[in-house]
């Protein structure tokens, strides 16, 4: 029994220590955001990598989620004659929850893993040491551009996802479930509030920051060779996904708790 408690206690302390290291890494990186030199070209390159190249996967995810949501809510609501609420359910679900969370998880898989692999490979091949010797701060050169790009591009991706998700619901509602197009659009607008969209975009900004942070952190601290880089990649995706779900709750609580 005492062995079990010791194991649980050790795991808990290890988790706390890991969280502390991640927070210290984040504080250091954020501190470097506001001190020159700045690398706008690198920020731009990361914005294209995260924003533009993630667009297809986010678009497909959100449009099909909107379509499924319309179909599911229609069949569910039909049981108590509330089919008219489909448009409202689709728009609120997409803007508040589904677009930010799904886009976050998809980008975590695509970008978080790529960041950890790239920076991890640079670590194990001494390229990060080389940056230091070449008078270039690795935080400023590698981490800060990714954090800025992640925090700014994910809201744009989510905004696009909001529109496409609602459009997916519209397609199913109008062309499959025979809703009146004008009535569907009107109900979508009538119940949508600015806070619904803003809360989703705030979540997206936080998720983008967290995805870049965990990708950079695990890559930066990877050890060994190919196995270490593989482990860093896995850890980056898993920790980003968990943090997205935790922060999703916390931000929802912040915006909507009574």
């Amino acid at each position: 029994m005492s062995d079990l408690l010791a194991t649980i206690g050790r795991a808990f302390l290890d988790a706390l220590a890991a969280l502390g290291r991640l927070v210290l890494f984040a504080i250091t990186a954020v501190g470097h955001m506001f001190r020159p030199p700045f690398y706008p070209a690198l920020i731009g390159r990361q914005m294209i990598e995260i924003g533009y190249f993630s667009l297809p996967v986010v678009a497909l995810t959100t449009i099909f989620s909107g379509m499924v949501l319309a179909l599911q809510s229609f069949t569910g609501f039909a049981r108590f004659s509330a089919e008219g609420a489909v448009a409202t359910v689709v728009v609120l679900s997409m803007t508040r929850e589904l677009a930010p969370v799904l886009a976050g998880l998809m980008v975590a898989g695509r970008i978080g893993a790529a960041m950890a692999a790239e920076i991890g490979t640079m670590r194990v091949t001494e390229q990060i040491d080389a940056l230091t010797v070449l008078s270039t701060n690795p935080y400023k050169y590698l981490v800060v551009p990714r954090l800025i790009a992640g925090a700014t591009m994910l809201p744009l991706l989510v905004l696009t996802g909001d529109i496409l998700g609602v459009f997916g619901g519209y397609l199913v509602a109008v062309y499959k479930l025979d809703f009146n197009a004008a009535a569907y659009i009107r109900r979508t607008w009538d119940y949508l509030e600015m806070m619904d969209v803003v809360s989703g975009l705030v979540k997206a900004g936080a998720f983008g920051f967290l995805i870049s942070l965990t990708g950079c952190y695990h890559g930066y601290n990877s050890k060994g060779g190919a196995q270490g880089v593989g482990q860093a990649t896995t850890n980056a995706v898993v920790s980003a996904s968990i943090l997205i779900l935790v922060f999703n709750y916390l931000i929802t609580e912040m915006f909507f708790a009574k």
Partner: protein
Amino acid sequence: MTAPKIELSGVRKAFGEKVVLDGIDYALPKGESLVVIGGSGSGKSVLLKCILGILRPDAGSIRIDGVETVGAKGQARENVVKKIGMLFQGSALFDSLPVWENVAFRLIQGQGMDRKEAKEIALDKLAQVGLGAPVAELHPAELSGGMQKRVALARAIASEPEIIFFDEPTTGLDPIMADVINDLIVASVKKLGATTISITHDMASARKIATRIAMIYAGKFIWSGPASEIGHSGNEYVDQFIHGRAEGPIRMAVRRP
């Protein structure tokens, strides 16, 4: 007598229970080329990383041009780093950049030089190591190991540093290419008048590029002297190492049949 360019005193570094450097003392005069020899895991790379500031020693002092570098931060650290060039064991070229940008990296990112001007310098340095302009536009992955070492050497000398570190400069190269790299190192260092520290297992390389040699064992320098005296050092550890004998006072951690 002039002040040493690099001065180590009581440098100690441990990783957990394992003591890697156990009080290293050495004073390297300006313009000298020190080669540190020693077995795998003897702490040679850790010593270089401590001098570079990539690792922080647990105790001791490292002075460059009389200025303490242990714990130096900000501009003080930058002032030290800009005097140093380094050739890494695996070359450590940036995969995402073409060869010329690798060579010109410090000039562009560290010194804010105009890209056109930096490229001209990079092409000149590449020519010094025997690489032509067409190579400059390639990416590191398109080069052989020997060419990557040459590019790494060009990068190390591009900003004309006062101090250059060479980490296993000939590892993984065939003997002819290793000798070519050694010749390039000697020529480049002579041209710059730089002070250098190299670490290597390769005795042919050590004899060619060193003016002084030191051997590290169990975290200490157990012998140091002019390169010409390495063959009759009178130290049985050094003799065993330079002749590559399995039998002797140095015991490798291997299980014998």
